[in-house]
């Protein structure tokens, strides 16, 4: 979706703020992190659905409320969307309905192993990659109205395949609950001048990971 999360290349946000407490500003932020990870581990929604929920906040909120409030509001919206809680329960902070069955609940003794296992996104596919390292590719001019990981600033630009990462879960499908639909994933190297014009040295580069459906031959 063409939204405010896709901010690569904007220059309107002022200087970078360096804060003394760089990881957390308050204890509730830690709780939001833990709640988000623990609910993510139940397998009710996937990573792409979770990112999509964060991007779906009001743009003015997304830009102003701070990182962990984005996570909090998105978590609440996911809990409601997947009907694990009701709006009344959220308002009251108490359970009024029976709990819904979950695929799993993360127990403390499994935290370390679960985090170490992570969630690899590479998948075996029976297609061959369309492109090889060194191939010139163009980013297609696609504007999907749902979740995507194609940043606007590379659309219509040409680059060179730098790595072939293998086939990975395709976020554009996975975010919609349409399955993992794994696609070949490439690291594409763009000349900085191709993206940003005369302002940049032509020896500089920007590398972006792009799934095959984002690309076309050129």
């Amino acid at each position: 979706m063409n939204g405010v999360q896709d901010m690569g290349g904007l220059e309107c946000f002022g200087p970078i703020e360096h804060e003394p407490d760089e990881l957390f500003h308050a204890d509730w932020e830690k709780q939001v992190l833990a709640l988000s990870l623990a609910m993510g581990a139940t397998g009710t929604w996937n990573l792409d659905q979770s990112r999509s929920a964060r991007e779906s906040l009001e743009p003015s909120e997304y830009l102003s409320i701070g990182y962990y409030r984005i996570w909090l509001y998105a978590l609440e919206s996911l809990l409601l969307k997947y009907e694990l809680i009701t709006a009344g329960e959220l308002t009251n902070g108490e359970s009024l309905e029976p709990a819904k069955p979950l695929k799993r609940v993360l127990v403390a003794s499994d935290v370390s192993q679960t985090l170490k296992r992570g969630g690899p996104t590479n998948r075996a596919v029976n297609t061959t990659a369309c492109y090889s390292v060194g191939d010139r590719v163009r980013v297609r001019n696609i504007h999907v109205s749902t979740h995507t990981r194609l940043p606007a600033y590379i659309r219509n630009h040409t680059g060179v395949v730098h790595y072939v990462h293998g086939a990975h879960v395709y976020p554009d499908s996975n975010a919609l609950g349409q399955g993992e639909n794994p696609q070949w994933l490439y690291n594409v190297k763009f000349n900085a001048r191709e993206l940003w014009g005369e302002r940049r040295d032509e020896r500089d580069a920007v590398h972006v990971d792009c799934w095959e459906p984002y690309l076309e031959q050129c």
């Binding site: 999360q5 896709d6 901010m7 690569g8 290349g9 904007l10 220059e11 309107c12 946000f13 002022g14 200087p15 970078i16 703020e17 804060e19 760089e22 990881l23 308050a26 204890d27 509730w28 830690k30 709780q31 992190l33 833990a34 709640l35 990870l37 623990a38 609910m39 991007e55 990182y67 909090l72 978590l75 809680i85 902070g93 359970s95 709990a99 819904k100 979950l102 609940v105 993360l106 403390a108 935290v111 679960t114 985090l115 296992r117 992570g118 690899p120 996104t121 940043p151 990975h168 976020p171 994933l185 190297k189 993206l195 302002r199 940049r200 500089d204 580069a205 920007v206 590398h207 972006v208």
Partner: protein, 221 residues
Amino acid sequence: MTSKDDVHTHHHDHDHDHDHDHEHSHLDSTALRVRSLQTLLVEKGYVDPQTLNELIDTYENKVGPQNGAAVIAKAWSDQSFKQWLLDDATAAIASLDYCGRQGEHMIAVENTPDVHNIVVCTLCSCYPWPVLGLPPAWYKSAPYRSKVVLDPASVLEEFGVSLPAETRIAVWDSTAEIRYLVIPQRPDSSEHLNESELRKLVNRNSMIGTALATPAKHHKT
């Protein structure tokens, strides 16, 4: 406040908690909102308070840039490890027992006199957790995410880094589940240092690309 207190305050420790929520009403209301949500999810049996404590403890105390520093110091000291890191970073890093969530697929990019690498996630906040821990606030902020792809030199300037004119800049935008770790240049005059001394020169930002490794001559060993 310890991380163990965090998830228990709503039961029995209101006064203590108020000290930490400050007087700002917005913060207070968010803290209450989080506490209320947590109470609900615990009551439902969806989350276990001990699990929450364990998760917070992991990212507050166990996983952090000291892990990445160990990887880099080993690469600086051991050419064959460095080659492994460049060829298959996921496996090389896993050999030191750093692996998993938000670091499932790693690539290491090496800074040289010719090229300086900087990592960003313009779309959200992707960051290699197993080696660097959680991202600092600035990494997740709009000013950094937006500007570093367009004008990395001025971002580096904001971080107090100036590069030689001949050094080109490569920015890595983490749009997929591949996580990038920068191998900073080993500082001059660090030849005499052993691996554990070298770790102290590997600051977090040097592994993101917004700093150089800490100079050896300024470092007390």
